[in-house]
Symmetry: C2
Subunit: 462 residues, 2 copies
């Protein structure tokens, strides 16, 4: 295992083949990103003497020391020869970034076979081709061929991301950064000619840094093995997938994107994922939301939700979403106990009727919120609290985020939908303090449903 994982995720020496001194060129962007990591780094380019202050080698064979990882940023036809050189050199993992392989027709497919042929009989492994690269913040590893200005990188944290698309990965990392969510690693598998999702799932399943495995896949490298493996891994930690190529047209599009050959039918995929215990995201934002929820909260024990809002209308909308079979099949509104209702009556303004959704009205204060959350958390009929966190009322402050985060660390999680002038920074603060928060009621309910489904499965299967 570590023969793959170490050079892929924790290489100590890296060669960049196709390094460039020209700002804006991919060979320059990657060089900069790699330089920032502080690894033993070798630039390879026969036409340059020096790049970013480093000596430039004419080929990988000239490098005097061993090389764990080689990143190749040459055009497709030149990448094959460079990969052969890497195999001769005994490089652990070769990252082949270029497109123009199996995704681009017959010629490309031949080229991809030649690529595999180049490492045949050696221990050298290939990531890609057609890959954006690897990002591992805790190892300061960043081979992505996009600058951090264009594609912000998140901090180190609990989400492992495996993506068949570089752009989806970059979007994922950007959203993670914006919302304060940390990742343990992001691996873009591209056309998956060699390294595929299976070895990575196995690794992340045992990786103590990883709390949730998130995936964007257009195809499965081995569907049966995926289900077997995931079934086991997902009992230990949550897994979520955005599987595209769901429709026929989508599958055709996937084929010309990463050469992916989609599974027979999406219905089969759906059944397999359920069996495997892998949650499914329908688009890119769900994927980041569910990664956030799973890595911070793992699951909720059941589907009985209590809604708390200071905006009465939001309470009503949330109730509709929770009770709707369509948006949240596994949720329902909790029935509050007599004890809870009496406790709430003491706390709430007198003109408010005590029920679920709990309407705190514009009279709400930080303290009132704190007390209400506390009272609800003692109700055995409540599995989770959905909090519509509004910072408009005059007597609530940003402190409310901390209050909710602290309360949420208890037995009964709180999942928040944030409405505030400065929502992005509130969401970031929430994530960093461990409170699962998203910007809309709709997304909040979808999260709760995913967490409840995981909770129900764990109860069933453990």
């Amino acid at each position: 295992m570590s023969r793959l994982i170490d050079p892929l995720l924790r290489p100590s020496s890296i060669a960049l083949i196709g390094a460039s001194a020209k700002p804006g060129k991919i060979g320059n962007i990657v060089m900069r990103n790699l330089t920032a990591g502080g690894h033993r780094l070798y630039a390879v380019n026969p036409n340059e003497e020096e790049i970013l202050g480093r000596r430039c080698y004419g080929s990988i064979s000239e490098i005097p020391n061993s090389v764990d990882m080689a990143v190749i940023v040459l055009p497709s036809h030149k990448s094959v020869e460079a990969t052969r050189d890497c195999a001769l050199k005994g490089v652990g993992v070769v990252v082949v970034s270029s497109s123009g392989f199996a995704e681009s027709g017959e010629d490309g497919r031949r080229l991809e076979s030649a690529l595999l042929e180049a490492v045949n009989g050696t221990d050298t492994r290939i990531l890609g081709p057609n890959t954006m690269g690897v990002y591992v913040p805790s190892a300061s590893l960043d081979t992505l061929f996009i600058s951090p200005e264009r594609g912000p990188r998140p901090r180190a944290g609990g989400v492992a991301m495996i993506s068949q698309s570089g752009a989806v990965a970059v979007s994922f990392l950007g959203m993670a950064e914006e919302t304060g969510l940390g990742v343990s690693a992001c691996v873009c598998v591209g056309n998956k000619c060699d390294i595929n999702e299976l070895e990575l799932i196995e690794h992340f399943g045992n990786d103590p840094e990883t709390r949730c495995i998130s995936m964007y896949l257009e195809s499965f490298s081995d569907g049966r093995r995926f289900v077997e493996l995931s079934r086991e891994v997902s009992l230990k930690k949550p897994m979520v997938i955005l599987k595209s190529g769901r429709t026929q047209a989508g599958a055709r599009a996937a084929n010309s994107h990463t050469g992916a050959v989609a599974a027979s039918s999406d219905l089969a995929v759906k059944g397999a994922l359920r069996q495997a215990g892998v949650a499914r995201a329908s688009e890119e934002v769900s994927l980041i939301d569910m990664s956030k929820a799973f890595s911070l909260a793992d699951h909720i024990r059941g589907g009985r939700i209590c809604v708390v809002a200071s905006a009465g209308g939001f309470g009503v909308i949330a109730t509709d979403l929770i009770e709707s079979e369509n948006s949240a099949p596994s949720l329902r509104m909790a029935r509050l106990s007599k004890e809870t209702k009496s406790a709430l009556e003491e706390i709430l303004p007198s003109f408010t009727s005590v029920q679920n959704p709990v309407d705190l009205t514009a009279e709400v204060s930080d303290q009132m919120y704190d007390e209400v959350l506390g009272a609800l958390q003692t109700d055995p009929g409540v599995d989770a609290i959905m909090m519509s966190l509004e910072l408009q009322p005059p007597n609530v402050t940003r402190q409310l985020v901390k209050i909710a985060a602290e309360r949420s660390s208890g037995q009964i999680p709180i999942i928040a939908s944030v409405f505030a002038r400065d929502a992005t920074s509130v969401l970031r603060e929430a994530t960093v303090t461990g409170l699962v928060a998203v910007p809309t009621l709709d997304r909040c309910v979808r999260l709760l449903n995913a967490l409840a489904e995981r909770g129900l499965r764990l109860r069933r299967e453990n």
Copy 2:
């Protein structure tokens, strides 16, 4: 008509009953908001001499001039008497902000009857009770009892918003402001004891400033009349509603929020809305998205969509969403004509296969995008273009927003999903320049579906 509309939306004199000198008090917040408008403004409070530099009157009867609108920010029981004084004074519209009326049980219902009784036999009309107020930027009218710091106000524009919930209205206005969307008016109808959605729909239907009528309603004041009226109005301009109380639990929650008695069943509501030609939003973000799309683009002529992306994975995800019966029943992927394909072949990088979704790859530039959009717009088989606007690739710039906006003003609209580091400001720039743009593929597809459904209806019924 103007007997209601003028004092409600364009009053020239306003009295604030319950004005306060104390910062933070509602009577002070509203006073500040009203003062900023530059209307003839009278503060009423028997215990003060002067508020914010204005003379304070002991009661409305002491005001020497006529009063078009009176805003009452007193507790519920005192609001009834104040309303009676307003009726005697001949005030046009009384805005009763207090809660504690029909939404809060038997006593409240009696109080609400007394409120109506107070204007009986006079020309005085009541907005509310339990209302956040009225906001009309083009008339500098702002009676909302929340400060602009807590609840940002959008600029003047084409969306008329009618809301039964103050908080939903404030959230709507805040999201509109953030995304650069303008409103013609926002009227919070609250418990609707007198003024309800019907007169407002009729007015906005004929209002040249209004391009889209958006609503948050928990109940219909007269369902049959709503359908008749909307059917007619929606042929002229798009209407969209977030109707809550869809589920039984939601309906109960609505009842204790605004005293709303929801219609018999949501299935009936669904049928009625379809008959009425009113689009339905399922939650608060859909409502703002659809308001944006309808006010900027009105409709698209059909459901044949061409997807353009520089991130191949996004193209695949978008294809899935468009072809899925669930997320977009009225859309399908367009088949590009031979002519379009040849034109694209000239523009795109050689390794790209030309098809829908069009994959521009990371080699995309502003100019390439411009040419591709132009080529697609001449294809008779394309009804609209879904553009995944990514600002990550090295050769695209913020200019792309302008390019897309200009192209979108032609026959074939472009609807964009934005992924960029500074997404909020990109979205705002898009909206202001007339390009419909939202932050996710999912929301983009939902919009396209709503626009196509309107296009199909207009074709059927005109």
